[in-house]
Symmetry: C2
């Protein structure tokens, strides 16, 4: 195992770990170098299990032992630093004491992600990494088969998304549409009923809309930007518009992660019902 003690926060070998809270810098750096960050023992283990290749590990003394096996199996360099050095490199108190830089894999083809999928989530232009991570966690936990992202949706492999997803971004298949304008037509051509989640007029309660579907339908759940929701283009190209009924006139919608959780829950229920019908 290649253990390298580093005390200079400016050491170029630590460049992957620079200023983790500087979103603009990180976006640029991670895209350019094709890397992403895993933080904390659990998430690092999950990245390893999911078959991602590490570039390096950055651990504080306290943490180095806990990840011994993962580091040893990887062959990647391990940089061991003091808590002070860690803080100066990453820009905040790294109280979990464990970071790893991983190589990204190329995103799969859309056809590969859709093959065999019954229920998928399609995210338009979400901007908040926490929301993207939370939606991946809910989608994976509730049995959604895949996630498809619009070209401008926030990155699921951004550190914050990875962390909030509890590593679900490593295991739930996903890819990105390369065409926003025509993207939904591609999904419809693949046989998906596209349900746009929107509190707007003319939308059906989600459960009612699901009851109208064929038992073997393939369903894509469309979720839009925080605040403004889905674009008019996507609303227009959806197969139907659905909403979660609200009881309180002052609260006209849920936040996107709450709405996504309920919608994925309904989707999993639909999937189960359909599966049971097939069996019977």
């Amino acid at each position: 195992m290649d253990v390298i003690r580093v005390s200079d926060p400016a050491d170029p070998r630590l460049a992957d770990y620079t200023r983790l809270r500087d979103v603009n810098l990180r976006r640029h750096l991670e895209a350019e170098h094709g890397l992403f960050m895993a933080e904390g023992d659990k998430v690092i283990r999950r990245a390893a299990t999911a078959g991602f290749a590490p570039r390096s590990f950055l651990l504080t003394e306290r943490r180095a032992e806990a990840l011994d096996d993962v580091v040893a199996a990887s062959g990647a360099p391990l940089y061991v630093v003091s808590e002070e050095t860690a803080e100066r490199v990453v820009g905040f108190d790294l109280h979990r004491g464990a970071l790893a830089a991983y190589h990204r894999k190329p995103l799969p083809e859309l056809g590969e992600v859709l093959a065999g999928a019954r229920g998928i989530v399609v995210l338009e232009d979400l901007v908040d990494h926490t929301n993207v991570g939370a939606i991946f966690r809910s989608a994976a936990g509730l049995g959604v088969d895949a996630v498809v992202l619009a070209p401008r949706c926030a990155d699921p492999l951004y550190r914050r998304s990875v962390k909030v997803s509890m590593g679900a971004v490593f295991t739930l298949p996903y890819t990105r549409l390369d065409d926003w304008y025509g993207g939904l037509d591609t999904l419809r051509d693949a046989g998906f009923d596209l349900m746009a989640l929107t509190p707007g007029e003319g939308s059906l309660p989600m459960r009612e809309a699901m009851d109208r579907l064929d038992a073997d339908a393939r369903v894509g759940l469309l979720l839009g930007t925080e605040g403004d929701g889905l674009s008019s283009r996507w609303l227009e190209r959806a197969t139907s518009r659905v909403h979660i009924p609200m009881a309180d006139r002052d609260i006209d919608s849920l936040n996107v992660t709450a709405a996504a959780a309920i919608a994925c829950y309904e989707l999993s229920r639909f999937g189960n019902v359909a599966a049971r019908d097939h069996l019977g």
Copy 2:
């Protein structure tokens, strides 16, 4: 209307607005002075509509007009500041340009909050203000009647909770138990079936547990701390343990706001079903 232009960030009249991101300072200051912060036009309007009394308003020039009516009707002083002064007082770029300090009201008695309530949410020791706010928004939107907090649960009137709740913390009745240890017994004595949401062993799928309830049951949904969940004391004093079935073995639970959203959704469904039974 009492318009006061202030250019000195250290002006004592702006003391309510000091260092809004300093959680420890703010907790202390807000508790001591019985105040809370509303941020942004929409939330400020909702606080006013809900009958809270403002102590003062802090608006940038650009924003002063948009809240003209609210300020005029209140009789509270309006401090108009430049964006630079605002930033130096509150400690970040106040891009929404609108803050108001409001007086808290005394929390209602538990009996008052529970009167007539069919479905309530009971939060144990949640620490994250964003989560508390999001749960209030979901609970209000989905028709939950009230929220009851354990003594140490994070404050729903903390700025971040208020904001994320979209003002639901102003309209959804809530109070705090003054006894953590015996608190659940008080709720049981009031006739509530207490469902502890927990992924642990021996818990029923939530929907199944709901199906077993009497149609006129009063239900309290118990949600625990981020990470560790409910305490063993509360698990022990619950009427039943329920979970949301997970499809993915690697994801053994949802985050607490996603779980709360789904649980409130099921609760509202149960309420509707029961209501229909009564009608029929």
